[in-house]
Symmetry: C2
Subunit: 162 residues, 2 copies
């Protein structure tokens, strides 16, 4: 399918924004929404539900990707586009990358999220090594068996790549 | 509770490594495992289950964090330590940051994962802007209503921060 037009992008982003508003008003979590689209059809849709689900990973993009994968019966989203009401945090950007859609479109920015009190921008800086915004210990520990899982995996027949 | 000793760290990392081996052998997904510990007690444990769950977000750390949050009834992991058999990808590092544990300890590195054929290092480079390893469209689209969710959120009473 051809790439979406600007009007298409804005239409699907308006749906993501509506999801964000709906979720925030319902007290599900932060004001963020996402939709996944394939061939012009919405195959996954979610608002942030961190508070309602008591799950820090229940961001809109993660939930929309999981819904789309469940709908499509696949661990990847080939040929899909992901629309997010706001630029994804590192967790959600990573989730998008692993899902391997065609494209990611977003409306607001990490700076907008920061202005609203969310740590997306700070966590981007932490993940990228530009700064460490939190009092957060991150340490590699020497372990003799660190390579064992990879060695076991290399020896398995019928591995499914992702 | 005091910080774990080196022997403690290695003991819990050995459990994460065992989870990684177990999951890979069972064909659940990639050879990665994670455990979440509070006060010396494991409160969450998982192996990567991307293939079995048909879910690109079903990495070990994400699943272990979700299990720990379910066990503790909270959207955050205050006072907990996260142990991962391998350095977390950007998605999982983001998940750890949002969960706000005390510390993250890991055994193998993103370079080890890359050598085993996984895109963790490439995705770190993409998320940090050092390089874009994939033919991946990421575009901000101008939307008149981009700020509406944040405005709605700011007007809500009883917001729960995360």
């Amino acid at each position: 399918m051809s790439e979406p037009s600007l009007a298409d992008k804005q239409r699907f982003l308006a749906m993501a924004i509506a999801e964000a508003v709906r979720g925030a008003r319902a007290g599900l979590g932060g004001p963020f929404g996402a939709v996944v689209v394939r061939d012009g059809v919405v195959v996954g849709k979610a608002s942030n539900a961190v508070i309602a689900n008591r799950d820090p990973t229940a961001h809109a993009e993660v939930l929309a990707i999981r819904a789309a994968c469940a709908a499509l019966g696949s661990h990847q989203l080939a040929g899909c586009d992901v629309y997010a009401s706001c630029e994804p945090c590192p967790m959600c950007l990573g989730a998008v990358l692993w899902a391997r859609p065609r494209a990611l479109y977003f409306a607001a920015t990490r700076a907008d999220a920061a202005a609203a009190g969310f740590d997306d921008a700070a966590f981007h800086d932490t993940v990228s090594g530009r700064s460490v915004a939190t009092a957060f210990v991150r340490e590699r520990v020497p372990c003799e068996d660190a390579g064992v899982p990879f060695a076991v995996y290399a020896g398995l027949a019928g591995r499914v790549r992702y």
